[in-house]
């Protein structure tokens, strides 16, 4: 399977250094089956620049309105990445000042990943009990873990993050999930979720995982050494 070589660049964003997901600036992909994507109400075109802009927007807004990120980014120098344990521990501070939900909306997350799987041509995936296998990021680099088309990637806190397409790659649910490579692994941001706000949460067990672009579907994929 051909994968575009990843490249990391540093861009100054709102006073912070942002390490991009590893995709080239201006990269644009189009779903092979655009009609299926259209029917599933998933954006047909993927644009790395637009993806980065969405991430910058949620980052700026989080610094402006969410107590935890205000405290963390203003006062603690160093890495901006947080662990899932830390996010759990600071749960109440991840709610914006204006108020909001205390937990990730699982139903919304499930609906989105199902539509996305349909658009990817992994229509036989039916998450949550209809035969679709679900795995966690810990198993991404495990050679024995399942990566059959339709297998879902789910984190108990972040919800559904990706799905294996019919090309065999782990596709990120990019309309809702932003991912970037850091020294510690893959940091994930939920782009659409307002509360609890989850920005740059480290996926456990993702140290060897990289982000690339699937040429067939034209959208970001998580690749492991065995890919």
């Amino acid at each position: 399977m051909e994968v575009i070589q990843r490249r990391c660049v540093d861009l100054p964003v709102g006073g912070f250094r942002l390490e991009r997901g590893g995709l080239q600036r201006g990269e644009v992909g189009v779903f092979a089956d655009a009609a299926a994507a259209f029917r599933a109400r998933v954006p047909i075109r993927y644009s790395a620049a637009r993806w980065d802009r969405a991430y910058r927007r949620i980052t700026r807004d989080s610094f402006r309105t969410v107590p935890f990120y205000r405290e963390r980014w203003a006062l603690t120098p160093g890495s901006r990445v947080i662990t899932v344990d830390e996010a759990h521990r600071r749960g109440p501070d991840l709610i914006p000042l204006g108020g909001g939900a205390e937990e990730t909306d699982e139903r919304h997350s499930h609906r989105s990943i199902t539509r996305f799987a349909v658009a990817l041509g992994a229509a036989h995936c039916r998450a949550g009990g209809n035969g679709g296998q679900v795995t966690t990021a810990d198993h991404l680099a495990d050679p024995d873990s399942p990566s059959l088309p339709g297998t879902l990637l789910r984190d108990p806190m972040l919800g559904y993050l990706g799905v294996v397409g019919d090309c065999g790659f782990w596709h990120l649910l990019w309309p809702e999930v932003y991912a970037r490579r850091t020294e510690l692994g893959i940091a994930v941001t939920l782009l659409q979720q307002q509360s609890p706000r989850l920005v740059d949460v480290l996926l456990s067990g993702s140290a060897a995982v990289t982000i690339s672009l699937c040429l067939r579907h034209g959208c970001p994929v998580l690749t492991t050494p065995r890919c």
């Binding site: 610094f63 405290e71 600071r90 501070d93």
Partner: protein
Amino acid sequence: MSVSIQLLDPRTDPEPPDWVDFQRRQQLYPMWSYDLLRIASWTSWAPVLLGLIRRSGQVVGAVAAMCWRPGRRRAFAPPGSFPTPCVLDVWLVGSSGRPSWIFSDEIDITGQRELLRAFERAALSHLGLGCVGLVYRDVPVESVPVVTGRGRVTKPVGGNALAVLPSSSKDWLSSLRRTRRQGLRKHAASLEADPELVIEYPAGGTGLDGPAFAQLLKQHNQNYPEQLDPRSPVSAAYLEALLRRPDVRTITYRTRNSKLLAFGSLIDHPQVPALGWWAKLDLEQGGRPHLYFDSLMRHVSYVISRGGRELSAGRGQLDVKATLGFTEVPLCGVAVPRWAAR
């Protein structure tokens, strides 16, 4: 003598070199620490404005204020700027029952009044027309002349509880009403005998969990809703930084499996130690009764044991504090419309 006012935004401005010296000279409470002001300012929707008043180049006074915007708060102020429109609230984060200005001993009441007026003018000019005026909180009655004047509204607010302590805990206990004394002894004995309860009372604890404390404090304060209180909830970072200082003691009540039931802090000031935050878990959520009285008794015993003669217990619960030997020191609040600050 020339007077100059330096206005500092602790979020972005570096700490002036003579500030530490002034703090030490005046034996200021730890809440005046520049680092704590910086943390408070970053993590509050009302950023802090610190005014340093210099006479002939020497710092002779300081005013801590916060700048809040009326209405619903959905966002923190952008770095390096203050909200507009705004009210300048002369209140030091973490302070209760004390004015939020401080002057060197050689400045008399008239001098303080002149210097405070100079601060008001400088602050209003710095904040621009968006600042509608000032509010002074917790002004002791004897200091009211410093801030009153034409167009200024002065109103009495709840008093500060202050206890003059005897030389031994035994004397303090025997000075209380009999029922209160017996109650305190009974509660202390029952808490000591509780095998599930772990009580710790260290100075500058390192194992303190700021987020858990901040969450408990937030829950606790929801039981006492104060209308129109513009103050931001205390952040975990601020609580952690304050409680880790060696001049702050924190009493914690936990279960054996480390569930936090209550905590209370004491600002261990050499002259007038002061009680800081107190928060406890509701009984319905697994909290224990009588912890407040127990914490107060331990604080009083500690202050007496290290030779302290006074203890300030802040505002609120004055009737309860009166049964523990505290007396009320009346306080006022003063509102200053922009046009009156000349």
